[in-house]
């Protein structure tokens, strides 16, 4: 019953509390506005801190989203296996690393965690169409599974099938960027182009995927690997291949199995380094994670130093403000202000000051992200809302932490001493 009464009383007081808080905020804003330059200099540290939180977090986040979506685009349960001699002096004594179609077939057949494989020849080629000539375009010689394994489909014409691969015929699929650079449209499907002086019929066009880390995935020519071998016969013993695991969880199993098969086939003794490399998505992720950790710790450093500087600035200016306004405090007390009224007035002022700094920092952070996003090679940047909340929280926290001492000092001033203050 008593508790209920207290609760009702407390609730009845809320509008009053809100009103007096609003009054304090208005007083604080007036105070800040009448000392514009001083206030701005005071919150510089906070501005820097918040600007760096917003811009760095947004960019790291932007890259993160980019990497994730790129990896999803690659196909989530995909690996690339390629012949690679072990680096350094030790590799010099070993025979050149080799990978043949038999190796790939063995993996396909015996590795149970592997759904399918697709041999791939990576090279660069010159392509000609009409009067246009493009030099050094990425060429992939692969098989009909390229589409599902890489999650990379044609959206005009068709992809080559098993028949084309077996025949090793002169058919090709082009990326959108190649099309653009050749200055032609989709009508090129069915027409002929020259790839390294060989006549190829264009049978399909790949969907647009965008670029990754400056590497444009749309600037690509795909032909059957058998056709590629005819053009580049020395590649026969240096094949790479895509591996698709049964599902994402099976990737480690698939890797273990193919490693065992390849080591056995290549006669690599236990403890010796392999003569092939495996590229997995989690490697990209790991690399990216390191970058993210570095960026975050640099950010944390900048932020904590500038918050500290900003906080001390606020404390300093609030102490000055309390001294300047001693008479005002005396007057307020003489007309009935309690200590807690004065305390909350000055605390509110400190918090409003630091939050205004935080607001400016957020605006600057947005501006930096906006400007950065204008660079053509930049990833898409969105300011995450949680970083705004975090920044505002930090700045308000600094206001409270560094404002409490000056506010307390103001609150305990004796009214008589305050009114006598010159």
């Amino acid at each position: 019953m008593k508790a209920l009464r207290a609760l009702v009383n407390a609730l009845l007081f809320i509008p009053d509390r809100v009103a007096s808080l609003a009054g304090n905020v208005v007083t604080a804003l007036v105070q800040i506005w009448s000392n514009k330059i001083r206030s701005l200099l005071t919150v510089l540290g906070i501005i820097i801190a918040v600007t760096s939180i917003i811009s760095v977090v947004s960019m790291v986040e932007g890259f993160g989203n980019y990497v994730t979506s790129f990896l999803r685009g690659l196909g989530t349960n995909m690996m690339v296996v390629y012949p690679e001699r072990v680096r350094g002096p030790m590799g010099e004594y070993l025979r050149p690393a080799e990978m043949t179609i038999e190796d790939i077939q063995a993996v396909d057949r015996y590795a149970t965690a592997v759904r399918r494989t697709s041999p791939v020849i990576f090279t660069r080629a010159t392509i000609e169409y009409g009067r246009q000539q493009l030099i050094g375009i990425d060429l992939r010689g692969t098989n009909e599974f390229f589409q599902p394994i890489r999650n990379f489909y044609v959206d005009a014409g068709r992809f080559f099938g098993a028949v084309d691969v077996d025949a090793g015929g002169p058919v090709c699929v082009l990326g959108r960027e190649v099309l653009r650079k050749l200055e032609c449209d989709e009508s090129v499907v069915g027409d002929f182009v020259h790839i390294d002086s060989q006549r190829f019929r264009v049978i399909g066009l790949l969907q647009s995927k965008g670029s990754f880390m400056g590497d444009n995935q749309d600037e690509m020519i795909v032909i059957p690997w058998t056709s590629a071998l005819k053009m580049y016969p020395y590649r026969r013993n240096y094949l790479a291949f895509y591996v698709e695991a049964m599902n994402e969880e099976k990737i480690p199993d698939a890797e273990g199995q193919l490693v065992r098969i390849l080591r056995q086939r290549h006669g690599i003794k236990k403890g010796d380094p392999p003569d092939f490399g495996i590229f997995k998505q989690d490697e990209i992720l790991k690399e990216f994670h390191t970058t993210r950790v570095i960026a975050t710790s640099v950010l944390a450093g900048i932020v904590s130093i500038s918050l500290l500087v900003g906080g001390i600035g606020i404390m300093n200016v609030m102490l000055v403000s309390v001294t300047e306004r001693t008479r005002e405090i005396g007057l307020r007390k003489s007309v009935g202000a309690h200590r807690r009224d004065i305390l909350s007035q000055f605390l509110t002022e400190a918090v409003v000051l630091s939050t205004v700094g935080g607001g400016i920092g957020i605006a600057l952070g947005y501006a930096i992200c906006y400007i950065a996003a204008m660079h053509p090679n930049m990833v898409e940047i969105n300011v995450p809302i949680w970083s705004v909340a975090l920044a505002l929280g930090f700045s308000a926290g600094v206001g409270i932490f560094f404002g409490i001492i000056p506010a307390f000092k103001a609150a305990i001033i004796h009214p008589i001493d305050a009114l006598r203050h010159e």
Partner: protein, 277 residues
Amino acid sequence: MTDAANNVASGFRAGRDVASEPRTGRLPSVGTDPVIELIDLYKTYRVGTELVHALRGTSLRIHENEYAAIMGASGSGKSTMLNILGCLDVPTSGIYRLRGQDVSRLSQTKLARIRGRQIGFIFQSFELLGRTTALKNVELPLAYTRTRHRRQRALEALKRVNLLDRAHHRPNQLSGGQKQRVAIARALAQQPDIILADEPTGNLDSTTGKEIMDILDSLQAEGQTIIVVTHEDEIARRCGRTIRLKDGQIVLDTGNGDGHPRRDEGGTDAIGEAATP
């Protein structure tokens, strides 16, 4: 004071009584119950190792609707006494009863509450907040006592001092006399038990000073209890009672402390001479 202003004034007083009674739950003072009672009050300041006795055994009673002037040489303890009366300070020893309640040993919180609800202070240097309007200045004490209808009450108080047309002016747009009227309105808005004024005309020329005193006179005529600290005999003469301090002690008091103000007895003319050695 014009008749119109007086009418406005009485309207304001009427509003005041209705509003104040349920708030405090106090009965209007009758008979000989003093509003203020000081018993053997001492105030001692310590400056370094030296002790300064600002008040030395002062006893005093002020009744409802009294109009008292506190006089005395500089340093005689007038402000010290007024500050204690206004609960801005506490005595070193002795008892101070305000409306029967001993307030000489109260905590800061309780003193703040009394300052907000029972005391209206008027200062020599006005003490208005420079960045806000006259109206906001008058509303200030009401905000601290969480009073309802602040704006309305503040406007009524400004009307009472004839400054309604300056409600939205800032102090730096007002003359000295107008500032002091805002300060009076601020005290009035509190609907205090007593108004304490420490040399309210000290910073004003004599004409403006008279205007201010006219307002205080009319407030007293409407039932307000007022204590004024002053150096000027002319001002003291307006008050019904003069209390003269010397070295922290009351050396002359024309009131008898029985609750009957001597406003009409015409004895005030002699005070100046009586106290002058």
